[in-house]
């Protein structure tokens, strides 16, 4: 009887499949780490944008501006600061504390106060929104004027194009 070494094709295929799987798994792992870094950058941009606008009293001044004026300043800020690979949308909502049961002229969210507050205004601005959104983060910031009856909420949504 003669002895021989047999390399079966299924052995080779098995090795190739295993090697491919290992490569794929490691590739996914590396991509996830990059995604985490990108997400941190997005969050930093969102927080910086809200804080800087607040420090420039953009939101507070907005109480005394028309919707068009406020939108113009929001758009200018986003155009000046948003990186090319990022979509950004900011929405500023202004509320009034209402002791009555009706919201009167501040009825954007209905005629009945919600937890005592009525939505008076909602102004938003965005950069060009791309349909292919890879990652997204949302940050919020509350602000007020010296008036006890007014408060606002700025929300920024940012995503990678």
């Amino acid at each position: 009887m003669k002895k021989g070494i047999v390399f079966t094709i299924d052995t080779i295929i098995g090795v190739i499949i295993t090697a491919s799987l290992l490569t794929a798994i490691m590739g996914i792992q590396a991509a996830n780490e990059n995604d985490e870094i990108e997400m941190l950058k997005l969050q930093a941009f969102a927080m910086d944008a809200l804080t800087t606008m607040d420090k420039q009293k953009m939101f507070e001044t907005g109480f005394f501006q028309s919707d068009a004026q406020l939108q113009q300043s929001l758009t200018r800020f986003l155009n000046n600061t948003t990186p090319e690979n990022v979509n950004a949308k900011i929405t500023v909502k202004m509320y009034r504390y209402e002791t009555h049961s009706s919201c009167g002229s501040c009825h954007l969210a209905g005629n009945t106060p919600i937890n005592g507050f009525c939505l008076c205004r909602s102004v938003s601005s965005d950069t060009v929104i791309s349909n292919t959104v890879r990652q997204k983060t949302v940050e919020k910031r509350m602000f007020s004027t010296h008036s006890e009856r007014q408060m606002g909420m700025a929300t920024i949504e940012v995503s990678l194009k």
Binding site: I5, T11, T18, M26, E33, A44, D48, T52, N79, T81
Partner: protein
């Protein structure tokens, strides 16, 4: 009929296991050690520059009225995301005149570092005071795959500016 039981270890199975083991070890070594070292360095540098950006624009440094002689931690903000002109000037002056001391205070001795403050149109912020006169930028970082950039937004003289920090090994 005489039934004998036996165990057959096929030779090609042994060869397959050997090839698999060698391949696995090669991949393991390549990706989990050398590649992960690079990834670890990259992640560590990313973390470092993100922290650095945060501290620069969020704190006024230690001590609060620091200068080059007594600074323990560098911060250039008068309040969060509001840049103080004097501290920005001191940072730039220090970065140009004594970059090793500045890197030590920023805990980035192992890296090349560059910093710039620009207006939204891309023009560098101009400083003109008793501490420093000139562009608000210093340092150079060569283009490479290891270069890591952090961009922060802050308010300076009531206008938004963009701070760019770059590091590489």
């Amino acid at each position: 009929m005489n039934n004998k039981r036996g165990q057959v270890i096929i030779f090609d199975l042994i060869v397959a296991i050997a090839i698999f083991t060698i391949t696995f070890l090669l991949f393991y070594n390549q990706f989990f050690f050398s590649s992960n070292d690079e990834a670890y360095d990259y992640n560590r540098a990313s973390e470092k520059i993100n922290q650095l950006g945060y501290f620069l624009i969020s704190t006024s440094g230690v001590p609060n009225d620091w200068d080059e002689t007594d600074v323990e931690a560098i911060g250039i903000a008068s309040e969060k995301n509001v840049i103080d002109e004097t501290k920005l000037s001191m940072l730039v002056a220090m970065g140009i005149a004594n970059s090793s001391n500045m890197k030590q205070k920023l805990d980035i001795q192992a890296y090349n570092f560059s910093f710039s403050a620009t207006h939204p149109d891309g023009a560098l912020v101009q400083l003109n005071n008793s501490i420093y006169q000139g562009n608000a930028s210093f340092g150079t970082v060569q283009e490479s795959k290891n270069k890591i950039k952090s961009t922060r937004i802050a308010s300076y003289k009531n206008s938004e500016i963009i701070l760019k920090l770059e590091i590489s090994k």
